[in-house]
């Protein structure tokens, strides 16, 4: 066999951290989140509304959960750290649902239900899984890394955002704080006209 020629090419695999930092700044920096935990109510912004399909083919509209505390978790089947959080969310869903908690997992898998549905069944996920898309991710700052989790208060406002894995205790503390808080039902979800939600005043 003839001697093989050799040629070298260099490739850099550099994670898009610049984009991530841009997205984080919209919701406060990690340092702020670590110090303050949940944002004060006056500083919270309305969670962008969306409608996505769940694993049973049902349409799910975020704003229909008004009055509940929502854990909105962007994840993917290929995301290892997401796998750590899933049992926590299952536990929260079971334990705290009676107090008004809803967990929504938004899968960002490009391959769609063909990979997500078997994963959900295999891991016996007890909370609602939706199939996300770039448009919805864009509403939430692009979701450049997973897991990215938003805690939405009973008034439909983003109270906390976590990019990357955080501790179960931190999640639980923040969720309990939001469950204990009183809802301001006059605050609309982003994208929902004020007249549509104002009728639900206390």
């Amino acid at each position: 066999m003839p001697a093989a020629l050799r040629c070298t090419r260099s490739l850099w695999i550099v994670p898009a951290l610049a984009l991530c930092l841009g997205a984080c700044s919209s919701f406060g920096t990690k340092a702020e989140a670590a110090e303050n935990g949940v944002k004060p109510a006056a500083q919270r912004k309305a969670a962008p509304d969306f409608t996505l399909e769940d694993s049973h083919g049902q349409k799910v509209k975020l704003s229909s959960y008004r009055g509940k505390v929502v854990v909105l978790d962007f994840w993917a089947t290929w995301c290892g750290p997401c796998k750590i959080e899933i049992p926590w969310f299952m536990e929260f869903e079971q334990e705290l649902k009676p107090r008004g908690l809803v967990v929504l997992g938004v899968s960002m898998d490009d391959d769609g239900w063909s990979v997500v549905r078997p994963y959900v069944e295999q891991h016996k996920i007890n909370y609602r899984i939706l199939l996300g898309n770039d448009q919805v991710a864009g509403l939430y700052g692009g979701v450049d890394a997973m897991p990215t989790t938003f805690l939405i208060d009973r008034s439909g406002r983003i109270a906390a955002m976590h990019q990357g894995l955080v501790s179960k205790d931190e999640f639980k503390k923040q969720i309990l704080q939001l469950l204990d808080a009183r809802a301001d039902l006059r605050a609309p979800f982003a994208g929902v006209p004020a007249f549509f939600t104002a009728g639900g005043a206390r």
Partner: protein, 128 residues
Amino acid sequence: MAPVARLHVHRRQTVDVKLSVKVAPGYHVNSNAPDDPYLIPLRLSWDKPVLEPVGTRFPTPQRVKLAFSDKPVAIFSGSFEIVATLRAPANVADMGMMSGKLRYQACNDRECLPPKVVPIRLSFDATN
């Protein structure tokens, strides 16, 4: 990606193309053969190859026990090389170009980034 040097090939012979990959500190990519079927493998592919792909050699992966996995996961981190072997057909033109893609999915211990593709372009001169 570093400036691409022109490749010199002999017709009917193979050429090894070394792709040097550097993963940002703190991150890893899945190997070409991750044990978990849900993990996205490192994959090199060629678009309409003018030079025939004969094979791709990946380094031996590191097997690391990560917090989310019950068993060690095969990953690459730091700097490593992928070697693609290409064969120049007898009728290949004197000059040409081919392109390919390296698809990867990177994570650190806290988060994962969506799968990405690095484009690869090779220009070559062919002689007998």
